[in-house]
Symmetry: C2
């Protein structure tokens, strides 16, 4: 921990309470934290940074910033099939942010600590003349040799997604004032998906031993499936008509059909995209049901490279990113 | 990992080579990294962030920024008695930084990876309109129940320091153009101590089982010893005349005696300050000799609270920080 006097008070008031559940945090008062990993488990480590106006809109409430920061990282743990345990924070904040902001930020952390059963174990806090930049490093556990990796896909495996990718990017459009004619309930549902992703931890853990490969959708379905394909040395075919749509997403794309390519190509959905042999389809559906998350088969892995999204006529769709290079 | 296309190239070119030695890094290509911790060990985690113009001077060469970032974190591991293993990075960099900067930054990382036997296992990289902000999270290991904590000091324990605290803050004065009359060799020696700390990893590991409490000097000797005292619920008396001085430090304080209080109170030395029972004095000296680091007894822990620095006349020195509240 950096340790100017102002920072001590900050730590005491807002962050020490968040470290109470984890003895290895040493009350955030020592040089480092201690973490135990059971002998049959491996530690899973991921880190993500968010910059105001780049990764979240200026004016986003501080508690939502905190929760989004934890959740984008938790989503990476979910994609590995890991159980979330603990985290460290690094905050670079302008001096103009007042204690209300910090209090709300800590409340957001507390809410999601509770929700996901994790504890703060350490961190650093500095001031910056630039925009707020927040970093979290998340720690999870997975049984040895059981982590879901990107490179395990086999030719003929089915490609699945959780939830309804595309909602978040359309939600961002809504947040920016686009789609003004859309029903208020749909606008709210889509915007909520952009503001606060739902990491699919239970689903990821349920897919251990079933899925052949997995990752989370942070760059858009096509781009991220492209990563899985590259790591597995295969290509993928996705049928656009099979992409799942909520009523809100369907209404938005009906109102603005020109956003369809955006919904497929872009996105901050933090859903899982994963592959499994066709024989595992029932097990996948069960895992989705147990986790309470819809799962949808959208295509398959094929020899070759790149991701091809096919329209209802079987021909490749245009404008869904730079990944359709068959 | 955040994953815009520009970032991919960055990662491929500069960071993947740094992850080659660590299989659990998964080539920096998966959602997270995997880390094994042997059953009899605990993981030690620490994170530190540096902001340009706050934690290092604008214009500092990128390789020196990288090395300082690793070393301030390694110093925290040293203070726990831990063995360094791996690290993650989070970089928020202005778009104006060119690839030369990145190449030099990666070279600095590579040099200290080699020096300290650590490997990069993950990270994130984002752009910022503000100044460069770099964060590292370091992972080390220590035998269960053997970590050096701050709160283990006992009344009557001897207070020790490694190296010569005060050199770094005087080195900063030199870097700012002060002390122009000092011999060039002394100026260079002091400035080097500010630019690039030397984490005392071997000493920290050597003190496991010998020292009763330890921490690293990042806020200044008096302030940091104050933390140890608070955690141990004791006070400390330090005799100013016993504080070790290199020829360069002695020459600087002779040229500018008004800096003496600064040298004692402030500092970015990343030396260890630690306590041990008087009966362990010979073992402490042996540990210092084995590690090749000078160690000096400078005082002792007493009932009460706060740190009192006494001059040659036995009276408290003025102006050595807010910690002399006997």
């Amino acid at each position: 921990m950096g340790e100017r006097l102002g920072e001590f008070e900050r730590i005491d008031r807002y962050f020490k309470p968040l470290a109470a559940r984890w003895p290895g945090a040493l009350g955030l008062a020592d040089d480092a934290a201690l973490l135990d990993v059971p002998a049959h488990r491996r530690l899973v480590v991921t880190t993500d940074t968010m910059v105001e106006s780049v990764h979240y809109l200026e004016g986003t409430p501080a508690d939502a910033v905190a929760r989004k920061l934890l959740r984008v990282n938790l989503s990476d743990l979910a994609a590995m099939g890991a159980e979330a345990k603990a985290y460290t924070l690094s905050l670079a904040l302008p001096r103009t942010l007042d204690t209300d902001w910090l209090a709300a930020f800590a409340e957001g952390l507390a809410a999601d600590q509770e929700r996901y059963g994790i504890g703060l174990i350490g961190g650093d806090s500095v001031s910056t003349p630039g925009p707020p930049i927040v970093t979290a490093t998340l720690f999870g556990e997975v049984d040895r040799g059981r982590a879901l990796l990107r490179g395990g896909g086999r030719e003929g495996d089915t490609v699945w997604v959780s939830g309804r990718p595309g909602e978040a990017v359309i939600g961002l459009e809504v947040a920016r004032g686009e789609l003004p004619g859309l029903a208020a309930e749909h606008r709210a549902a889509l915007k909520a998906r952009y503001d606060l992703p739902e990491p699919r931890l239970a689903l990821g853990q349920g897919l251990v031993g079933i899925a052949s490969a997995a990752l989370d959708v942070s760059d858009g379905l096509v781009a991220d499936l492209g990563h899985l394909c590259r790591a597995s040395r295969l290509g993928a075919i996705v049928e656009a008509a099979r992409l799942p749509r909520s009523p809100a997403l369907a209404a938005a794309l009906e109102a603005a059909p020109e956003l369809e390519a955006t919904a497929i190509a872009a996105g901050d959905d933090y859903e899982l995209v994963f592959t499994a042999p066709p024989s595992a389809a029932e097990a996948v559906r069960q895992a989705g049901e147990t986790a309470g998350v819809p799962v949808t088969a959208i295509g398959c892995l094929v020899a070759g490279e790149g991701v091809q999204v096919r329209g209802a006529d079987g021909r490749p769709l245009d404008g869904v990113g730079g990944w359709t290079h068959f």
